[in-house]
């Protein structure tokens, strides 16, 4: 092509392809260029949290990706894909240590699928009413605040009691044990009705669909406090359910919005799966109360950040988005 490489090309090539050895990588779907190591690091961080606490980390990775400059739609869809990977990595590690209650996981998942379907329906109604974004943020702050606060108080008390040598009280029989359709969950050491786990599953499914998260944050405390499952089993079981929810979300986004960026996902995944393994080990070293205190602190931290975002005057009042977003 005569016009392709005209006379001055040598000079321009020197300017553009010069000696800069940065690790910027151009993402084909997001259409932005970002630092590859930064993404590996983000993936790793979220993977550690995931393996340790049994949360997917969607609540954390998505805002971090916004901050790096990834368009919101791509960030939401791609982080779901990454969470599939880090959850699988962590669940396999938990399976080896026999800390996954597969039967409980299936029951929760069954409820979760029903809940997700209801959630999508609710979400569409909310969107027609407008201000869905605000509602999602407010419900985030509310849920995280309440759950984090309760959990923090409870786990700090438990920690103090165990330090002073008091024997923890035996779990009381509450209304949950009076329900019919009892089932044995051997790994959790429970013999309870299937109704509460199914309801927890439905509730988390609704939240997951409306808020766009895996729901680990609500699931973990619900399993500990409502169902009375041991903390160590909760983490692996929550992750088992998250795998299916996020895999479904990934497929949905890929086929309807074309917003899964595979290159971005791969970078996050490499960091994530390694982080998940490290996190699982770290979680194994900690005591149950310590794990709960840390998770509660993390929940409160995220809640505080979201609340500040709503309350403080932003430095840039304006934002630009593609049409219809």
């Amino acid at each position: 092509m005569p016009g392709d490489r005209p006379a001055l090309h040598t000079e321009t090539d020197r300017w553009t392809d010069g000696d800069k050895h940065t690790v910027q990588i151009y993402l084909p779907i997001a259409e932005v260029s970002v630092n590859a190591f930064l993404l590996l690091g983000l993936g790793g961080l979220v993977g550690i949290l995931s393996g340790m606490f049994g949360v997917g980390g969607g609540f954390l990775i998505t805002p971090l990706l916004f901050f790096v400059g990834i368009p919101p739609a791509v960030a939401v869809a791609t982080s779901a894909n990454q969470i599939v990977a880090s959850s699988i990595s962590a669940v396999l590690a938990h399976l080896r240590r026999r800390t996954v209650d597969i039967r409980m996981g299936i029951v929760l998942l069954a409820g979760g699928l029903v809940g997700a379907a209801i959630g999508v329906w609710v979400f569409n109604i909310l969107r027609e009413m407008g201000q869905v974004d605000l509602l999602v943020r407010l419900s985030y702050v509310l849920f995280l605040g309440v759950i984090g606060g309760l959990m923090f108080v409870e786990s700090v008390n438990a920690l103090l009691n165990s330090r002073s040598g008091k024997v923890p009280k035996r779990r009381r029989h509450n209304w949950i044990h009076a329900l019919p359709m009892k089932m044995k969950f051997r790994t959790s050491g429970l013999y309870i009705s299937v109704i509460p786990p199914v309801l927890v599953g439905v509730f988390v499914g609704v939240l997951a669909a409306v808020m766009g998260v895996g729901g680990g944050f609500v699931m973990v405390p619900a399993m500990i406090y409502l169902l009375g499952m041991p903390t160590k089993v909760v983490v692996g079981t929550s992750l088992l359910q998250i795998i299916f929810v996020t895999a479904f979300t990934t497929l949905l986004h890929a086929t309807t919005n074309y917003t899964v960026d595979l290159l971005l996902a791969v970078l996050l995944i490499v960091g994530g799966v390694i982080g998940a393994q490290i996190g699982t080990r770290m979680g194994g070293v900690l005591r149950a109360e310590q794990l709960r205190v840390l998770l509660a602190a993390l929940v409160l931290l995220v809640c505080g950040k979201l609340a500040l975002d709503l309350l403080l005057r932003p430095s840039e009042l304006f934002s630009v988005a593609g049409a219809g977003q």
Binding site: P2, G3, D4, P6, A7, L8, H9, E11, T12, W15, T16, T22, Q24, Y26, P28, I29, E31, V32, S33, G69, N81, V84, A85, S87, I88, S89, L92, A93, R96, Q131, L134, A247, T250, L251, H253, A254, T255, Y258, V260, L262, A265, V266, I269, V273, I274, A276, Q277, L310, L311, R313, P314, E316, L317, F318, V320, A321, G322, A323, G324, Q325
Partner: protein, 250 residues
């Protein structure tokens, strides 16, 4: 160089009475976005061809490069009760995804208001010219914000004095395209002005496109979304399993 330049040129409105004509060229008319794309620089150069002696009055050269236009929404946060929420929103029918304007001097010396309106040369005009739907009382604050936000990302640039002119005849400038580039056909326009009036202009196209892996992934995601989605999941599952298997030995 001259031959190459002539091949590239697409002269705009060559009026018969025109005494001065622009002869222009680009260092490249194709930008390939590969995985390690870090931005690109395009050199735009040319000469003023005259059949008669130079006319009196100061001359100016303005070069613009414009990316594909897309519709977008600009939102403003407002305080409602104790919290800040997205409140007012303005739809822009089509705003360039990239816009650079390089000049040989300050706008008030080389470009008058009428020709700016007509040709949509300055950044603000380039947005406004395409018809902003006025749904808010102060649309200019919104377009200001768009220019400011995109300016921070080097997507909208105004480079006063970036065009070098020699002997009122030869000129050259370079436009740097940032790494955050959207693919599509970009248009370079070159204007020759005298006493603020555009007396000649030229334009040519620059094809910006993804290549290699980027091209493959983008096409697959849009043409075969199910295959793409399943592939994404397969990679996630394989990576999760792989890491677990490797860490078993530690």
């Amino acid at each position: 160089m001259r031959r190459a330049a002539l091949v590239l040129i697409l002269l705009l409105g060559p009026l018969p009475a025109m005494a001065e004509e622009l002869v222009t060229g680009l260092s490249r008319n194709r930008v390939s976005i590969s995985a390690n794309f870090e931005g690109s620089e395009i050199l735009i150069f040319g000469a003023v061809k005259r059949e008669s002696p130079i006319e009196p009055g100061p001359t100016g050269i303005i070069v613009t490069v414009e990316g594909p236009k897309v519709p977008l929404t600009i939102r403003r946060k407002d305080r409602v009760g104790p919290i800040w929420i997205n409140d007012a929103a303005m739809e822009v029918d089509a705003a360039p995804s990239f816009y650079a304007v390089n000049t040989s001097g300050p706008f008030d010396e080389i470009l008058n208001h009428v020709d700016d309106l007509r040709q949509a040369i300055t950044v603000h005009r380039a947005i406004r010219a395409v018809g902003v739907v006025e749904t808010v009382p102060d649309p200019s604050a919104f377009t200001e914000a768009l220019v400011r936000i995109r300016g921070r990302a080097d997507l909208y640039q105004t480079n006063i004095g970036a065009v070098t002119v020699r002997e009122d005849t030869l000129f050259d400038t370079s436009v740097s395209l940032p790494a955050n580039l959207v693919e599509g056909i970009y248009t370079a326009r070159i204007f020759l002005t005298r006493e603020g009036t555009v007396i000649s202009s030229a334009s040519s196209a620059i094809n910006v496109q993804k290549v290699g892996l980027e091209r493959f992934l983008y096409n697959l995601a849009h043409e075969d979304p199910l295959v793409y989605g399943v592939m994404s999941l397969a990679i996630a599952i394989a990576a999760g399993w792989g890491a677990s298997a490797v860490f078993r030995y530690f």
